[in-house]
């Protein structure tokens, strides 16, 4: 196996709120190998975005209390803010959910796309703009040269997301973190942006972390996925294995709640009962147990660790770790 590019180990990020300390990221570990696309899935509020922001050290007002983020032999959690700024945008780039608000409304798009090169390579205005125009045309902005002079409000949502991706790529980073890049876009544009991300991954060799709550997106894009629930990783493994044989009841339920072409006929869609727990007031034992149809006594008492289940997957579930099968119900 190739050496991982990014190793996240036992990461804990907390927020202080009036209700007490909220563990938004509670012991998350994962690897990202060069050139791969890793999916992080889960419902809203399960800690996906905070995990990504913590990697970039942009989790404020949250605090990383423990854990490591190893990147190229250095622990990003230990770097000074100044050193971290050298990583952001140069080595690891990030694109955000809402392209409508992710661009500064008062600047021309070309200027903004060129900002990372001015920051990191010290390029002058002309050179930065030329590279921005080049990058804009490569992400599929038609007549990029004149479009670079447009302001964000003259771009459509899809084009803004393309511009954000272009901005991320100007410095050819090794890691691209895409936080729900298609959620705010309509379906046809979603498909275009996903195509583009696939392209970027292939042509630039950029390792991509794709955060989404859309399992369909993950299935088409990612070699491996991580499923998060209540700040913890509950299952991880190669996408096709996880989809074929989920080893955590949460993944199992998620997969049953969406329509699939390969499903058996007349199989009804089953939404997951209940809502994700309040992170400030987690249930005892496994956080998923109140919504779990396979729960056993132990689930309400002890927190399961993330352990190998089956050949290629890891799961944090007492049932499957004991050899139980997830069927029926």
């Amino acid at each position: 196996m190739t050496q991982p590019l990014l190793e996240v180990r036992d990461l804990h990020t907390v927020f202080s709120t009036k209700e007490g300390t909220v563990k938004a990221v509670d012991g998350v570990s994962f690897d990202l190998t060069p050139g791969e696309t890793l999916g992080i899935v889960g419902e809203s509020g399960c800690g996906k975005s905070v995990t990504a922001l913590s990697v970039m050290r942009l989790q404020r007002p949250g605090k990383i209390v423990s854990g490591k983020v190893m990147f190229k032999g250095q622990d990003l959690t230990k770097l000074s803010e100044y050193e971290m700024r050298e990583i952001r945008g140069r080595e690891i780039a990030m694109i955000f959910q809402d392209p409508m608000t992710s661009l500064n409304p008062v600047f021309q798009v070309g200027w903004q796309v060129g900002e990372p090169t001015r920051l990191h390579h010290g390029w002058g205005a002309k050179k930065a703009l030329a590279s921005a125009v080049n990058m804009l045309s490569r992400v599929g902005i038609p007549s990029a040269e004149s479009r670079a002079n447009d302001y964000p409000h003259q771009f459509s949502g899809g084009m803004r997301q393309r511009a954000m991706i272009a901005m991320g790529l100007t410095t050819t980073p090794q890691v691209l973190i895409a936080d729900e890049p298609t959620t705010a876009l309509d379906v046809t544009i979603q498909a275009q942006i996903l195509d583009l991300l696939r392209h970027v991954n292939r042509e630039f060799g950029t390792a991509t972390i794709l955060i989404t709550h859309n399992l369909g997106v993950v299935a088409g894009m990612c070699e491996r996925i991580i499923v998060m629930y209540a700040g913890k990783v509950v299952e991880s493994g190669p996408t096709k294995d996880v989809f074929a044989h989920p080893t955590h009841p949460y993944t199992w339920s998620l997969l049953r709640s969406i329509p699939r072409l390969d499903a058996e006929k007349h199989e009804p869609l089953k939404p997951i009962e209940g809502v994700p727990p309040n992170l400030a007031d987690l249930p005892t034992g496994c956080a998923f147990h109140p919504r779990c149809v396979f729960r056993v006594d132990r689930c309400t008492r002890d927190v399961p660790a993330l352990l190998r289940v089956g050949e290629s997957q890891l799961a944090a579930c007492w049932v499957t770790q004991a050899g139980g099968e997830l069927t029926g119900a």
């Binding site: 990583i87 952001r88 945008g89 409304p105 008062v106 920051l119 038609p142 447009d150 991320g168």
Partner: protein
Amino acid sequence: MIGPSRVAELDVPAAGVETGAARPAQSYWNESWERLRANRVGMAAGLLIVVFALIALLAPLFSLVVTHVQPQTINLDDTFFRPGLRHLLGTDELGRDTLTRLIWGARVSLGVAFLTVAMSLSVGTTVGMVAGYYGGWIDDVLMRFVDMVLAIPAIFLFILMSILFRPNAITLAAIVASVGWGSVARLVRGEVLSVKQRDFILATRSIGAGDARLMVRHLLPNVLPVLIVAASLGVGQIILIEAALDFLGLGIQPPTPSWGNMLTNAQSYFFRSGFLVAFPGITIFITVLASNIFGNAVRDAFDPRLKS
């Protein structure tokens, strides 16, 4: 890894349906300027201020060419002249030409007004920006200080300062600005608080921009519209304050003419010659009115919150 030579090989899916012909760039600034230009009354008021400012700048020329007297030139043969051809706006008790004095007074009044606005904007913007951007205890300390500044009864502070520093145009501007920056700081802080929540600030941090760059290059331009509005509305207000201070003898001291101290002087001769009161009064009135009308026009054109 990336080179222009590979562009051709890339089969990047183009933004198909979104393809649009290039349009001329319509920036926020262009749009606002167009809106301002469409407001005729506002533009006329603005033009009036510009003309007054030009006249003030060229005051020595006017003395030489138009009125042929200096503002301090005393002519005891020509006291209390009525407005006429010899003295367009009449003369005062010492035979000094009122028009000349008004023109020289404009230098003081407008000069102090612009200088005050510049001072309160630069201090207020810096403080408001730092408070809003960093938040936490920095915000608390700075804004409580602003609250204190704004709680000081301004007129007493002005009196005290005028006693401590002999007022000239610059110290007077500094004295008025020492209170004026507080409200600017509040305004800017509020704006920064709302702008910094927007995603593009996080996005800008994510490309590695530091605090200083974020504040000056990315936040400040977003706050600029509010500053422009504050500045244009502030001018009229400060002209009034300055005139009041001069009138009370706390501002520019005679014999240097200012609109305010011309009024002070005139009150003794109110019944001999009402013109001595009327002309400085009307001048102040017109200037302040024009400033306010222009300020409102600028606000209508520039304030992002008023945009539909």
